[in-house]
Amino acid sequence: MSEPLLVVDDLQTHFHTRQGVSRAVDGVSFSVDKGQILGLVGESGSGKSVTGFSILGLVDPPGRVVGGEIRFRGENLLALPPERMRKLRGSRIAMIFQDPMMTLNPVLRIDTQMMEAVLAHESMSRRAARDRCREALARVGIPAPEERLKAYPHQFSGGMRQRVAIAIAFLHKPDLIIADEPTTALDVTIQAQILAEAQELCRDSGTAMIWITHDLAVVAGLADRLCVMYAGKIVESGDIDAVLDHPRHPYTGGLIDSVPSRNRRGRALAQIPGMTPSLLNLPEGCSFRPRCERASEHCFQLPELSEKAPDHRARCFHPLTTRATAKAPA
């Protein structure tokens, strides 16, 4: 088999702060195949967004990628000259951010911004570029795209703005899109629209996607594979069904059980005790140890991310074996 589209190997991104070194991403490895949707799930501070930024080379000081390799179509992105990286970014790898109000320039019209994105990577006439932008807007379901091209970002609603951001990300039919919580700020019906657009565009153009989120339910419907992050490390990865139906890491199991769902109505939710540790002051060994009921002396050493079942890896000495909690009826 040929190499996957993207291989992240032992990525380390550290933030050097006055209080010490914060290992936001600490030895993360995963790969994404062409056309695949990977869900990257974690709570705030787990390093999921910094992983996304690292791939695009967008980590700002005091953060720095200090180790590892990111191979995209066989090239190590970390060794690329900035000029070459800039060519890739936006054309072959694109990003969709959580808040489209932050990524769209409020004082420029949509057509100006979109055409700039087209012409930055391809030489064509302004008219052709404009046609391309109009088609892109129409594809993400924006009504009257010709008129909307002349509008400013503040004239769009939150959902429409996110669609514009998605349209821009798909302008060059990239090989990979990194989406960082793109629907978190949106309402349920609008979120479903955005998920539908993203899903369809990926299917049509064969684009691979990394969908970063804290919401297990969103990736459950969208992703093919799942990586769960905790305190800068991947604690579990595998096929979406395997991970969600038979979680091996106690943290993943706890997360799934703490999602309110109808079969446990009125009863107490299973909860993970304690809170996410500070990255500056991580517990020794497995970082989940202080919150884990299965922890033992052994857990003062760091477990490896190892295969617990075919194509299903977890970083735990005492993995869950069978699904202990009730599974929701189909």
Binding site: M160, A192, L195, V259, P273
Partner: protein
């Protein structure tokens, strides 16, 4: 047909007096014209004041010990309604009743009792705590001001409140910034509990928290309900949370209530097309690799809502009638209310 406060309650519960009820409650926000616009309109420029009907003619009764979930998307007026119930906003029309007594007809003593009995918990645990006060003062201020505890017993009282919400009383002298989001939300809950309320309005109280912390706070809400016999109006956009916690669910769309039902009934067989669309689109952890089929259209601006039924431009079943008149909220089955003309159509009994 209904005594004012007895609107919208389960048939089985008509004998009980609701703890809180409101009838035809409305809230308008008016943006007055500035000086230039006033002068221009006097000269015939035709500027008008902008009026938003944030909440438009809603009625409901809530019983002691009940958990009512209030669901809707942004701009539907759910927070405005919650704030009116908690006494933070003055209604523009309609009447609010506490223990069968109209708020507008209460004497100062009764008003004070209502104000203390109904407390609110806010969404943002960062913005809702005064950063310059210690936890002891945040939690202890209200009971001290209202003479519920003596000054020298205050420390013990605050310690008890903190223990009740699962915080170490040793944290009493700390400031809010020294706590995590989940702990701050617990401080907010302790502050509300300190005046011994009977009714809590929780406005998106877990929306800002991480999943594992959210479960802790939801469990706390359920435990407090059992220990103290509290009644909740639980406002949320998260149907999963509401389904887990509520006895009854109220769905709002653009300022109006479109459906009220017991939780099981609502989730098993939603009646209103909006409710059905909402339920169909909730991401669920057991639905894998699904094809998201989206409801068309945007939520209209509350500044300029569509005529008739507010939902008709997005509704797959809209008829001519829906464009002309707003369907009233009618009882379609015992304890089950829906505002949709489809229920009048013969042979259309999808209840």
């Amino acid at each position: 047909m209904n005594t004012p406060a007895r609107l919208l309650i389960d048939e089985t519960e008509t004998s009980r007096v609701p703890i809180l009820a409101f009838r035809n409650l409305g809230k308008r926000f008016v943006k007055p014209l500035d000086l230039a616009a006033r002068i221009a309109s006097r000269l015939g420029a035709g500027y008008r004041e902008e009026v938003v009907h944030a909440v438009d003619d809603v009625s409901l009764s809530i019983h002691e010990g009940e958990v009512v979930g209030l669901v809707g998307e942004s701009g539907c007026g759910k927070s405005t309604l919650g704030r009116m119930v908690a006494g933070i906003l003055e209604p523009s029309s309609g009447e609010l009743y506490y223990r069968d007594k109209a708020i507008s007809k209460m004497n100062p003593g009764e008003r004070r009792e209502w104000a203390l009995d109904v407390q609110m918990i806010f969404q943002d645990p960062y913005a809702s705590l005064n950063p310059r006060l210690r936890v002891r003062d945040i939690v202890g201020e209200a009971p001290r001001v209202h003479g519920m505890v003596k000054a020298r017993e205050l420390t013990d009282y605050v310690a008890e409140m903190l223990r009740r919400v699962g915080l170490d009383p040793g944290f009493m002298r700390r400031y809010p910034h020294q706590f995590s989001g989940g702990q701050r939300q617990r401080i907010g809950i302790a502050r509300a509990l300190a005046v011994k309320p009977r009714f809590l309005v929780c406005d998106e109280a877990v929306a800002a928290l991480d999943v594992s912390i959210q479960a802790q706070v939801l469990n706390l809400f359920m435990r407090l309900r059992e220990e103290l016999g509290l009644t909740y109006l639980f406002i949320s956009h998260d149907l999963g949370v509401v389904e887990h916690l509520s006895d009854r669910v109220v769905i709002m769309y653009l300022g109006r209530i479109v459906e009220v039902a017991r939780t099981e009934a609502l989730f098993d067989s939603p009646n209103h097309p909006y409710t059905r669309a909402l339920l169909a689109e909730v991401p669920r952890i057991d639905a894998r690799r699904r094809r998201f089929a989206a409801l068309k259209g945007e939520i209209p601006s509350p500044l300029n809502p569509p005529p008739g039924c507010h939902f008709h431009p997005r509704c797959p079943h809209a008829m001519d009638r829906c464009r002309e008149a707003a369907p009233p909220l009618r009882e379609i089955a015992p304890g089950r209310w829906s505002a949709c003309f489809l229920n009048d159509e013969p042979g259309n009994s999808h209840v």
